[in-house]
Symmetry: C2
Subunit: 209 residues, 2 copies
């Protein structure tokens, strides 16, 4: 019987190896040789799946986006958490405070810069932002429906603001220790949400923060 | 008499040529040859001042930072505008809605990605963010003093949030038409400020928005 190779699984394992490398050492550490070492596969196998360093990074970007998409789904589906708490969890899932999120922020920053010049990368980034806004908007509208966010606020504007604020904090945090310290505060995600929905601390307290 | 060459002025003119190129065609258009054409100087002269494409881009980054620093100074020194209006003007001065700001956002995004791997770029970015936070904080504290921003808010936290929100919007706008449309709204800068200081539309109206 011929050996059965699950190519999709192998691609995923290789993309995960790239993300592990990025988390530990940064984008510049990603070379075919280093990924081979990280994954335990030969550079020959790697070259079979990914023709260049750029393709390896693109696979890592898509993998990071998929993992984040699963994260969103889990957060939205969680029972017993209200929409404000979901918004906080969505926000916290982006801030680069562990290896997964650090690798994600780094690979996205790399492709943000690529995307300024290159349409494939730009499209990937725009699709990722659109999905992120989708889950945020769903929770903002739910919060407006239950009355914890003012119905006077424009849900689209709140969504764009919360996503941009979170993204700005994440990107700046990997470059600036002041911002990294700010997002390391226990209530950092709650503060982002409160700012986006224009809640003061007292209002937040009143609705059960 | 020997010919007097103002080297600083020539460096500035070359950096401006790089920024003009970036605004019109993006970072990838920056080559020694293209900058020579844009500036009217020979590639020989260019190579005398800047040893590589990377040095040309770094000069453009510093030039963009200096121009933005002058902009901040002008906004802070303007008489007859209150601190909330200054916060709006500082915010608006970053959003990439004309050639100057578009070039600035592009060159900063390029160096954000560089800065994730390289200490010189990281230091430049951190210094830029620190200066930006400095002018924002000054206006936040002034607004708290005059009572248009709640004294209960932490000025540092408001500052970090407003800078991250504005930066996130600027970076996303050059990749995502949805965000570009959002920041093109007439009240985009005012909305950013209101979110950071947790003002609702009604409160903003009440203090003379």
């Amino acid at each position: 019987m011929p050996k059965i190779v699950d190519h999709d699984e192998r691609r995923l394992a290789l993309a995960d190896a790239v993300l592990a490398l990025i988390a530990r050492e940064g984008i510049s550490a990603v070379t075919t040789r280093a990924v081979a070492e990280e994954s335990g596969w030969s550079t020959g196998v790697l070259n079979h799946y990914f023709g260049s360093r750029h393709e390896l990074l693109l696979a890592a970007l898509r993998r990071a986006g998929d993992i984040q998409g699963d994260r969103y789904r889990t957060i939205l589906d969680e029972e017993g958490t209200g929409p404000i708490e979901k918004l906080r969890n969505i926000t916290a899932s982006i801030l680069p405070l562990d290896e997964r999120r650090l690798a994600m922020t780094r690979v996205f920053l790399f492709f943000y810069a690529e995307g300024a010049a290159e349409e494939t990368a730009r499209g990937e980034i725009a699709a990722f932002l659109s999905r992120w806004r989708g889950v945020v908007r769903e929770s903002v509208v739910a919060a407006q429906r239950e009355g914890t966010v003012s119905a006077d606020l424009d849900a689209d504007a709140v969504t764009v603001a919360l996503v941009a604020l979170t993204d700005g904090l994440a990107l700046q945090a990997i470059l600036d220790p002041v911002v990294m310290e700010a997002i390391s505060a226990e209530d950092a995600a709650a503060r982002c949400v409160d700012a986006a929905v224009r809640r003061t601390t007292e209002e937040a307290g009143a609705v059960g923060r």
